[in-house]
Symmetry: C2
């Protein structure tokens, strides 16, 4: 069974819960993006995804990418689908009209991307970095570079990569050794080898635009010495640049996406932005890229849920326990068995709550980009900075673990390839690692975003959240109390980390997780406050959230509190454990 | 890096913590199995595993089993290794001397099996069912069948299968349709198709002994109508039986073990035990088989930990946070970073605590088999009945999830095949499903073993545990209190389930999990009470247990209590959610 975009669900959250058209109405750039247009885009996107992308899911895994003599052959159908994709204008959806784009809000791209990832994670890796590269070029590249590359990156006629990692430099980009040497004509010669380059080489497009982190000759050591260089596969005069794909990795999953080792042999490139400001230029696209990874998580879990739900409705084993004493005729669908209901409804709690948070964040990205009011833009920026690492981590964690639970619904059949559920487990695993591992996200949240301002931004955000939803729903009080406890915890954590410089690194993962759970509940209260959220479709996951997800908050709280207590005892000692 | 059996660790737990030789000394059958002999077997077993089995781990995955025209070709080296294995006498380790075995205790076999699974889960599937088949034949088969098959199953010259599952009958074996029709000569004709048969066909041995669940012509519907039939691949007169391997499954992992669809075309077989007592005969081997799956979990997690630990010691990224303000020269090994320490030490908490419980259970199996005192045998039987489903579930859950955490230590490198860690994640996933899914284990514990006697057996077991370890260790009081809370919870659950017949199915998973956490703590108190448990080797995992594992107990307790409260409110209604 291929993934089917459930556009009614998406619309219910985007319109019924988040009032997206109204929010966007406050932005001059999107004042004429009304609900009807948005719905049309969702439906057309859903149709394209279902017809062209979803059917390539298994081929992508089973045939995978082939590598021979520096060339990558994509799985059958991938190139045609990509050509149809960019020619239909999908990559340019949220690009500016002056670059050939349709100027639609980022939230529309977010929805499209979620559907694409659900349908075919491997294929979707190809266009996945386009918008980030577009933003990076748009904001940092010289006029000449923009003229040469921006329209074709905006349209997706050429695909783009981010070349950061080297074999010895992963989470620690300060160790990057690739060098960029200035030439008399203003270009640079780039020398070094990058690994884990998604789409570093392929046959989907005629050219590939590599954005390469490198060090100029006079650069200091560490991350602050890095610059960003644009290195095209094919040079403007039509010659091949000296960019060589050495091999592609054999991976656990994601076989539809070539993960390349790229060697730059004094390749020709041009600096993007200022020297030694490479990481800053790259981080421009980071929040958006990380939000996209969160949406991959949401999409993959939806795809896994669809498979498990369909199987659980069909498969009959044993009688399900009944309270009313009625006798069924023979074995029941396993969807009626409590252990299976729990798995299915819990995933929906994460999918739909995750969607609310992710779409909300995409709207905030739109607001941060073009709201007329500075204070509102700042608030939006704050939302994105704080929510993005939480969503990236929580949604990718749940994609893998929830897909594994969905596999469990199939029993032994889940372990067999033909059902396709094990592919989602394998594919989804990488999202906990790339775009900054989930552990790095947790440090980003606590050490870089909460501690420096004494949790002021986080508390402000929690205060804003506490004022919504507009009317009281059943679990409102409990949600409210949880946010207040999180607020108090954040302040305790700030004080404790002030006394002990290593504490934050011990509790970062639990802190992020506590935040994620509290916000997921907040998202579900948004759903509960919306009209038409009373049916089984919404009440069953809301109940699962209460029963099986929210209790984790207290556990994380207890773990953090216990660790803070130990740190207080140990103050003055050198014991880091 | 291949898995290396760490026999000193195993010996420390078996001798230092569990006093295995002393326990076995009370059994006449094993009175002369002293510590020196046991240690020698562990060391020799470890050497065989390291030299012959571990090096075949990657070939097993990458080449895998090949299927052509009904024949299965094992991965290169598998047959030679298996021939060496049985000819060295390893399968017969714990078989009775009268059947050609060495008569050693089951706990020795358990240790061997843990090491084998850690080294090569796929290969180990082949001999994995031998001892169960041996026990089944020994206790249920006719003298004639025993004479013909028992010695060769004991020695491992012939391998065995369990043929239970059919495409429509997985957890619900009552739906089995395979028929066995009696013939005039006392044999049976078996007709039907079985799926998910591990080692249903292969080239490791010249004959394969299938134990097939089937229905006699006059049998009633449901699980009580099933009989067990022995169907050999090669008949006593040398002809091939009409047992056909139709295909082998393409799976997520475990490629070294052929998972076969087996068609029985009126194949010739002989009844084992009484008609319609097939499940009972099969369940004889269930506790032992499930304990072996738990040991697979322990072994796989150990193998994953070894890889992650070695990588974390070598790989340097960023400076690790320090309390003493010292400055390192350049990036630190990631093993010093808190997020990685947490992952590594937490896995050790599960591995070593799991080992204590699993070896303890194996000793109880020995005691149940041959202790002179009936009451002691009964207590051992109770231990095995209650602890086995908990261990099977908790250890296989942790094998998969902990291996995934270990993968995370590698960052992007973990997702790439060459490091071998992703293979363990894929291989281990199946253990949460087979030998009864983990959800079925949870129901087995609560619905079949705790509720029927009003938790009497469980409470008796908890009382016994509360009397150990022999002297007070640091966390003794907390552990003691947790056991008491578990005892009270069990009694509340019994009362609540008495009022609401469906409740047990909603809380079974959490109940098992609460039990598992409490017992893991108990196991670690056993370690803490042992001599020589003071070093970093044992204190770091003990601390990880306190910090990150034990807090889950309160969460499970809260989930169960909340659900019981809801059930109490809903009594009299028909709402099962």
């Amino acid at each position: 069974m291929d993934y089917q975009p459930r556009t009614d669900d998406i619309a219910a959250l985007l319109f019924g819960v988040l009032d997206a058209p109204q929010q966007l109405g406050a932005l001059p750039a999107h004042a004429d993006t009304d609900g009807a247009l948005m719905r049309q885009i969702i439906d057309e996107g859903g149709r394209f995804v279902a017809e062209r992308i979803a059917p390539l899911q298994r081929t992508g895994d089973e045939t995978g990418c082939r590598f021979e003599a520096g060339q990558v052959q994509s799985p059958p159908g991938f190139r045609d689908a990509y050509q149809a994709y960019w020619q239909a204008g999908w990559p340019a959806l949220a690009c500016a009209p002056e670059h050939g784009g349709q100027g639609l809000p980022l939230v529309m791209e977010a929805v499209l991307y979620e559907m694409l990832s659900a349908a075919n994670h491997g294929w979707t890796m190809a266009p996945g970095l386009l918008h980030g590269a577009y933003d990076c070029l748009r904001h940092h590249a010289s006029a000449e570079l923009r003229e040469r590359y921006l329209p074709r990156v905006a349209s997706g006629e050429w695909l783009a990569t981010m070349c950061l990692t080297e074999s010895h430099a992963g989470s620690d980009l300060g160790l990057v050794r690739t060098r960029a040497t200035p030439q008399a004509d203003g270009s640079y010669r780039v020398a070094g080898t990058k690994i884990f380059i998604s789409g570093g080489e392929h046959d989907l497009t005629d050219n590939i635009v590599h954005l390469v982190l490198a060090r100029l000759p006079d650069a200091p050591a560490g991350p602050k010495g890095l610059s960003l260089v644009l290195v095209p596969k094919v040079l403007p005069d039509g010659r091949r640049n000296t960019v060589v794909c050495e091999r592609i990795e054999e991976k656990m999953g994601l076989h539809g996406s070539p993960t390349c080792v790229m060697r730059f042999d004094d390749a020709c490139g041009w600096l993007i932005g200022e020297p030694q400001r490479g990481l800053a230029a790259m981080f421009v696209m980071m929040n958006a890229a990380r939000l996209h990874v969160a949406l991959q998580g949401v999409g993959l879990l939806e795809a896994a849920w669809q498979k498990a739900d369909a199987y659980a409705q069909e498969r009959r084993q044993m009688r399900a326990p009944r309270t009313d004493g009625s006798a069924g005729a023979g074995p029941d669908p396993i969807a009626l068995h409590p252990a299976m209901r729990r798995i299915l409804d819990t995933q929906r709690a994460w999918i739909d709550g995750g969607r609310v948070l992710a779409y909300h964040t995409a709207l905030e990205l739109d607001i941060a980009q073009s709201h007329p009011d500075t204070a509102r833009r700042d608030a939006a920026q704050r939302w994105c900075a704080l929510v993005t690492p939480v969503l990236k981590t929580a949604c990718t964690h749940q994609a893998f673990h929830g897909a594994s639970e969905c596999l469990q619904v199939f029993g032994g059949h889940g372990y067999v390839r033909e059902w396709g559920i094990e592919q989602i487990v394998r594919d989804s695993r990488v999202a906990m690692i790339y775009e900054g591992t989930n552990e790095i996200q947790a440090i980003d949240l606590l050490v870089r975003k909460v501690l420096p301002d004494g949790a002021a931004a986080l508390c402000a955000l929690l205060d804003t959240m506490a004022q919504e939803p507009p009317r009281q729903s059943r679990g409102f009080t409990a949600m409210h109390q949880r946010l207040a406890r999180l607020r108090a915890l954040a302040q305790d954590v700030v004080a404790a980390c002030h006394r002990d410089g290593t504490l934050a690194y011990w509790i970062a993962d639990d802190f992020l997780r506590a935040v994620a759970i509290a916000w997921l509940d907040w998202a579900w209260e948004q759903i509960a406050a919306a009209p038409a959220s009373g049916g089984e479709r919404w009440t069953a996951p809301a109940q699962a959230l209460q029963s099986w997800v929210l209790p984790e908050f207290d556990m994380r709280h207890a773990i953090i509190t216990q660790r803070m207590g130990r740190a207080a005892q140990a103050t003055g000692t050198h014991d880091v454990r």
